[in-house]
Symmetry: C2
C-alpha cells in the first residue's frame, strides 16, 4: 500500500520533504503545490509542480498533504483551511501559540472527518517527546534544552532588517560549561545568558556605520539583548562560501532522582547534530505523515501531535518486524 503524499509550499522544507520521500519506499510524491506559476517551478526530483488553484482536483489523489509553509503567517491560516480537504501534517513551531493552533485545526479537522498532526519536527517534535518520556520516567527532576550550534533563521532575519545590512547569518551556540554542569546532575539555575551565546556574520552595505549596526544587533530586545553576542563583518563572497548551509542541533537533558531517600541521580540526554535542519525536520514530517495516514485509516479525525502517535505508527516496519528487530 503506497501512501500518496503532496507537498504544499516549496521552500527549503518542501525540498527536504521531496528528497525524504525518495528514502521511504512505502510513499509516493504526487505533486508539489505552490503559489507560484508552476511553469516557473523546477523541482529537484522532477516531480510535477501544480498551482494552488488546481488543488481541488487532487482531493482523492493524495492521502496526506505535508504543509511546508512558515509558522508566522502561513500555517495558522493554511492548516485549518487545508484539513477540510486533506489529511495534513505541519511543523508549526511557535511554542506559545500551539494551544490556539491546535484548537483551530482540531475543530476544522473534526468537521471534515480528517486527521492532522501539527508541530512535527525536532523542536517542537523529537525534543518534545524527549521531554515527555524523560519526565514520565523521572517525575522528580529538571529539564534543560540547549539549541545549536546552528543557524537560527528568525535571528538571521532580524539582523537583515537592520538598515545597512545586506545579508546575515546567526548561529545559536550552547555554552559548553552550562551543558557540562547540567550533565553532572547538579540541576543548576541558569539564566538565558548562561545557556547560549549568539554569533552573527553580517554583510554590511558599503559605507554603512558598522559600529551602529553592531550596537543595534547587540541591544535588540528579545533577540539579542539577553545574550552575549559577537558580531563579525564579512564580505558577501565569504558569507556565501562559509555560511551557505543550515546546520543545527541541540540537546534535551533531564536529570532526576529516585530511591527511598532520593539518593540516586540519573541523567537522560537526547541530542542531535544536523548538517541540514530543514532536511531533518522533513524526515520527522514524513514519518508523521505515515502516522496521520494510519490514524485516518482507523477512522479517527481531529488534531493530533507526536505525543498522540503510537511510535510504531511512524515506522514503515510491521509491528512484528519492529518487535523482532528494534525492541
Amino acid at each position: 500500500m503506497t501512501i500518496r503524499i503532496g507537498i504544499l509550499g516549496y521552500g527549503n522544507l518542501g525540498r527536504g520533504v521531496e528528497c525524504a520521500i525518495r528514502q521511504n519506499e512505502d510513499m509516493e510524491l504526487v505533486a508539489v503545490f505552490s503559489r507560484r506559476d508552476p511553469a516557473k517551478v523546477t523541482t529537484l526530483t522532477g516531480v510535477k509542480a501544480v498551482s494552488l488553484d488546481d488543488l481541488a482536483a487532487y482531493k482523492d489523489k493524495i492521502d496526506v498533504m505535508i504543509l511546508c509553509g512558515g509558522s508566522a503567517t502561513d500555517l495558522p491560516a493554511q492548516t485549518p483551511a487545508y484539513v477540510a480537504d486533506f489529511n495534513v501534517v505541519d511543523s508549526f513551531d511557535t511554542h506559545a501559540k500551539i494551544p490556539a493552533h491546535f484548537a483551530a485545526v482540531d475543530e476544522a479537522a473534526k468537521k471534515a472527518g480528517h486527521c492532522a498532526v501539527i508541530s512535527a519536527g525536532w523542536d517542537p517534535g523529537m525534543f518534545s517527546l524527549a521531554r515527555l518520556y524523560s519526565s514520565a520516567i523521572l517525575p522528580e527532576g529538571k529539564d534543560y534544552t540547549f539549541w545549536g550550534r546552528g543557524v537560527s533563521q528568525g535571528h538571521s532575519d532580524a539582523i537583515r532588517r537592520i538598515e545597512g545590512v545586506l545579508d546575515a547569518r546567526q548561529y545559536t551556540v550552547p555554552v559548553e560549561e552550562a551543558v557540562a554542569q547540567v550533565r553532572s546532575g547538579s540541576q543548576p539555575a541558569l539564566t538565558t545568558r548562561e545557556k547560549h551565546t549568539r554569533e552573527c556574520y553580517v554583510v554590511a552595505a558599503e559605507g554603512a556605520d558598522l559600529a551602529r549596526i553592531e550596537n543595534e544587533i547587540k541591544t535588540m530586545p528579545n533577540y539579542f539583548a539577553d545574550y552575549d553576542t559577537t558580531v563579525h563583518f564579512l564580505s558577501m563572497e565569504e558569507l556565501k562560501r562559509d555560511h551557505a548551509g543550515l546546520p543545527h542541533g541541540g540537546s534535551v537533558i533531564r536529570t532526576g532522582v529516585t530511591g527511598l531517600d532520593k539518593e540516586h541521580s540519573h541523567v537522560i540526554e537526547y541530542s542531535i547534530k544536523l548538517d541540514s535542519n530543514p532536511e531533518f525536520t522533513a524526515g520527522a514530517l514524513v514519518a508523521s505523515a505515515r502516522g496521520v495516514y494510519r490514524l485516518a485509516k482507523e477512522g479517527k479525525s481531529g488534531c493530533f501531535t507526536m505525543f498522540d502517535l503510537p511510535p510504531a505508527y511512524l515506522s514503515s516496519m510491521s509491528p512484528e518486524e519492529l518487535r523482532k528487530k528494534l525492541l
Copy 2:
C-alpha cells in the same frame, strides 16, 4: 482518579517500583506480593506484603500489576498466567525471545480481556524507542547501541558460578574510541571486541587457583571470550565497599544521510547515565503501568509494548497540559 498498583516479586526491581510509586501522585501502591512468608517480608515504605496464595482476593482491588520477576524463568510463566486476572506490565528483556513471549501473553490477555505491556524498561524500552524513532526519521542510516559503564547482573552471575569464586561484580564498558567514531557519522563496522570491554571484580576463596579462575573467565564462551576482559581480585570487604551499587547507562546512536545526493549527514543520540539500574527501570515500568491502565480504560485487550503506547499515555499530565508545557 488514582491508579491502584500491585507489585509482584520483591527484589531490587520490586523495591525500585515501590519507591517510584511515591513519586507519582496519581498512583497508589496496594500491596507487594511475594512467594515468601509475608511475615518475613519488611517493605521499604511499610506497604503490606501479601502471600501469592492470597492473590485472588485482590482481583478487583488492583488496576495494574507490575511483574518484577526475572526474564529467565519467572516472566515467561508469570506474565501469561497473571494477565488472566490483572492488567500487567513486565520488563522481559531476553531480546531473542520477545516474539514468543509476546504471542503467549497476547493470547492469554485477549482471552481474559486484559491488557499487558511487556519489555518495558530501558533496553528493551527507551533504547528500543530511540532506535524506532531515529530509523523512522532517518531511514537510510545505521544504529549503534553501547551499554555501560555499568554492572551486568548476568555476567556477574556467570563469574559466580566458577569454582572457587565467592562473589563477583562485572562492569560492561563502552570503548570510547568506538563511540567517538560512531558519533563522527563515519558508520564504522565494529566487532564485538571493538565496542565494549569487560571489567571483573572477583572475590576468590582462600587458596583458590587465581590463574585458573582468571583463565576460566576470559575464555568463557558468549560471556567473555569475544571481549577484552580484565580481572581484578579483591577482598569481600573491598567488593562490598566499592562495588555495592548497580549503576548503568549507555547510548543509542543513529547516523544517517539525507538530501538529493545524500550529501547531508545527521547524528541522533539517546544516552542515559544511571546511579541505579533497577530504579530507572522501575520508573519506565511505572510510566508504562499508566499507559496500560489507559489502554484498558479504552476497552482494549491484548499484549502491547512501548512501541504501541501513545507517548502521552505515559504522562500524568493531561493532553492540554502536555501541549502547553512540553511540546
